[in-house]
Amino acid sequence: MERITPLLWLLFSAGGTVAALLFPVHLFLTGLAFPLGWLEAPRYDVLHRLIAHPLIRLYLFILISLPLFHWAHRFRYTLYDGLQLKHLTTLIAVLCYGAALFGTAMAAYLLWTIT
């Protein structure tokens, strides 16, 4: 664990920056403006055409994976300090980073196999 701490911290901070810069606009559009009809949701073929581009796929991969590692790192410490679960250190770390890895693998699989 000690040896990969700098890497985990790097993922945390890169993910925090990605989430800060990009999540508000994506969440506002996809989560509120489109479903509430304030703006017209993009049609299927528009999104399908966008996602066909390799750079858009790379963008989506980064957009999903880095913030997941940001969550894993921050949430891990929230559980330790907030809920005083210091004795479950290893279990919490495995569950948090494991979930982030799982989400990352799923994003990679979907973006790689999409046609």
């Binding site: 606009v25 989560g31 913030p67």
Partner: protein, 138 residues
Amino acid sequence: MKADPHYTLYHPRWYRRHVSVWWWLQNRSYTAFVLREITSVFVAFFAVVYLWQIRAIAKGPEAYAQFLTRLGTPFFLVLNAVAFLFVLFHAVTWFNLTPKAMVLRLRGKRVADGVVLGLNYAAWVVVSGAVAFVLLRG
């Protein structure tokens, strides 16, 4: 106290004061700290929503239409609204920390915090505009 105490490397257990799980509600800055930590849950929530959307696009037009309908249910609308507020709180606190976390120097002089902050917010506006442009114009 037990007659045969079990010594550890650290201080004995019975000297520890019990701290309530709600310690962070007693002080406003502690509350802000914990709320900031909780933003990560909503960050993860939205990452999963986006993953869900990509899966729907991969499956086809019907799955995408179903995704849009599901996101429009009251349950998801409320969740999205709350998540949006938390994600905004994350963005603002994250940007406000950057001048402290990353000190920029220009010709040996430290760039003022306000400038670094301004650059962050400018980048935020530009990037958000670009994303909205691509999603709305295709």
